[in-house]
Amino acid sequence: MKRYGATQALAGASIQLYAGELVGLLGPNGAGKTTMINAIAGRVRLDAGAVRLFGRTLARGDKRPELGVVPQELAIYPLLTARENLAAFGRLYGVTGADLKARVDWALEWSDLKDRAREITKRFSGGMKRRLNIACGLVHKPSVVLLDEPTVGVDPQSRERIYEMLAALRGAGVSIVLTTHHLEEAERRCERIVIIDHGAIVASGALNDLVSSTLGAARTLTLTLGQPLPVDAVVPAGAVIDESRRLLTSQVHDVGADVGRFLAAVNGAHGEVVDVAIAGSTLQDVFIALTGRELRE
């Protein structure tokens, strides 16, 4: 639990993490994602509740060498080279000697920055800085990694590269929690999704489980028409037509029965169907259903 004045930032939110798991922590702006991350990292003085890491209850101020935190800001020194940044943070986290050199070399290789190791980071692109930012949080070989929006502001190629890096970590048994607003990324990459809103967990589980528990087994049926449906034509019950009057969507629960019935209704309304698409509910659908469409802070 954590309150800042009148705002309840964390209202009983609780999260568990298992070895080698990649968990996406999602939520609207101001939902409590960063507060949660900071609480696990020991940067928040909780009003109630505790953080347990490998069976050890952590007090505020306890060092957490098993934990690696990658902040949303690019927390690297612009006038130091990539190698110098990694070495500095490695030493500060207790890595020394030959082990430090090995870890720095690994981090440079893993983040694909080996060729630019001796260049000051002020000259790096946004994607390179992001990769180095992540690498600096991992140089001390943590078992648990918290990443706050690791792909913000980077191009698709860099984003892809970052997720390849995270996949390699998972393969080594590292547990990862990341926050992101890119729902399609979370849908594709994360084993488990945790949705937080107003400081409380509103959903947690694999995507299929979230869909069935939130939206049920319904599918979205989309019909594309060759010509706009006449204004006086009767739209089939339960269907939504767009402004161009050429796209009709509807939720269907029994694909075999409902699709045919729907097509017949459109033909009867003199609609010329040129394309049919059936899609399952997405994470975005679940997210909007759980958190609403209103704009947040």
């Binding site: 940067r43 928040v44 060092k63 935190v69 902040p71 690019l74 110098e84 030493r91 500060l92």
Partner: protein, 425 residues
């Protein structure tokens, strides 16, 4: 851990050319300006009081007076309309114009008949010509100095004239001298005239009349005005040290903004380690800054650094340590770089003015001197003055060192307290 923090700070610093210039070049430039303006003035015309002299009498006596004034080391005498002897003799109207225009603070007018009357004592009567001092009274010093020196040279410039006038007064009240007495007096007067003509002139010449006085420099025998250079080196040095330390402390705010501070706090360093590392680095840079400035002063302006190395090192170490801690206090109090800039400018300039960095404390009123002791600058400057001006032994620095140590501890404690807002929220 401290090694890593120092290495990171040093690498960031040496790759930041602007920071390097502000730390080492700017203070040297400022110090050079002050040293050039106020220091090393031996033989320079700018320190002497300029005085215009109008000799309306042109007698042997008035010429002797003018010559004696020109020989005074504290005066820069002009007797012509233009400088360097050009433009013909100066008249009263011209002298008055020089004073009114602010070119000269005082002018002396030796009236016609001065040499003839030569009255030094007794009833001069209203008819006797009087020397006039045309003065700019907004300068409280120059007219008084010139008046004093004029009275002095009236005794020393032509002693035979004074002796002759004195004997005339004696004869008036006691009766005429005998022929033998007259002969002795004439011999004595001739002797005085010969001695004067032989060139025993100048402000240090043994006077024929008046107390024999020797001016002995007990503070800096043989070093002349280099003590003034030392004062400005210390004053400017401490002021810029404070600015540099405040700026360096501001890297905490940059690190907070970039997120690197969060990384450092989460590491083995923790907030205490981060602050200690920063303090150590800033103090070392501060010492280096002072060393560069004083070395420059020694090489270019003759500042007597070498004989005072131990005292300089002691004062610089403790001054830099306290200034570094003070810089951290300012940084941890501020929320943004802009706030830090505004706060540090006001606080440091106020402290520097009260503490003697801009104007010597020993020239301030007693109340202001006491008030200045609340500032960091006052204690640091007093220590440097003890080293460079009074040649005090190292042990005599204990009050200043003790206060600076106390300030260091207090500032570090305050900075640690203010920095807690970054640790956990």
């Amino acid at each position: 851990m401290f090694g890593t923090l120092l290495r990171v700070a040093w690498t960031n610093f040496r790759r930041d050319r602007v920071a390097l210039s502000l730390t080492f070049v700017l203070p040297v430039i400022f110090f050079s300006i002050f040293a050039g303006v106020f220091g090393n003035q031996r033989g320079s015309a700018t320190r002497r009081i300029p005085v215009a002299v109008v000799d309306q009498d042109a007698s042997e006596y008035s010429k002797a007076l003018v010559a004696a004034l020109e020989a005074e080391g504290a005066l820069r005498v002009r007797t012509t309309r233009e400088s360097e002897g050009r433009g013909g003799p100066l008249d009263r109207a011209g002298a008055e114009a020089l004073v009114r225009d602010g070119d000269f603070p005082v002018a002396v007018v030796l009236p016609k008949g001065l040499g003839e009357t030569r009255k030094f004592w007794g009833d001069t009567g209203t008819a006797a010509p009087r020397v006039q001092l045309l003065a700019d009274v907004s300068d409280p010093i120059a007219p008084q100095v010139v008046q004093g020196l004029l009275q002095k040279v009236s005794f020393t410039a032509a002693p035979e004239t004074m002796a002759t006038a004195g004997l005339a007064m004696f004869e008036k009240y006691s009766g005429p001298l005998t022929s033998e007495q007259r002969a002795s007096v004439d011999q004595w007067v001739s002797s005085m005239r010969r001695n004067r003509a032989a060139g025993s002139s100048g402000s240090n010449a043994a006077p024929a009349f008046g107390l024999p006085i020797d001016l002995v420099n007990v503070m800096q025998p043989g070093s002349g005005d280099t003590a003034t250079i030392s004062f400005y080196a210390a004053g400017i040095g401490v002021m810029f040290l404070l600015f540099s330390c405040a700026g360096a402390g501001g890297t905490l705010l940059e690190e907070e903004e970039s997120g690197t501070l969060g990384r450092l706090i989460s590491s083995r360093a923790g907030m205490s380690g981060v602050l200690a590392g920063k303090w150590l680095f800033i103090a070392m840079m501060g010492m280096l800054q002072l060393a560069v400035m004083f070395t420059w002063g020694a090489l270019v302006f003759g500042l007597p650094l070498l004989p005072h190395i131990p005292g300089f090192l002691v004062m610089s170490a403790f001054t830099a340590a306290a200034a570094a801690a003070f810089g951290l206090v300012l940084a941890t109090l501020s929320r943004t770089r802009a706030q830090l800039s505004g706060l540090s400018t006001i606080v440091i300039l106020t402290m520097s003015a009260l503490g003697g960095s801009m104007f010597p404390r020993f020239l301030m009123s007693e109340t202001m001197q006491k008030f200045g002791l609340v500032t960091f600058n006052a204690w640091a400057l007093d220590g440097y003055l003890k080293v460079f001006w009074r040649d005090s032994p190292l042990l005599d620095l204990w009050p200043q060192v003790l206060v600076l140590i106390g300030l260091t501890v207090a500032f570090l404690a305050a900075a640690r307290m203010f920095a807690r807002r970054w640790e956990t929220v």
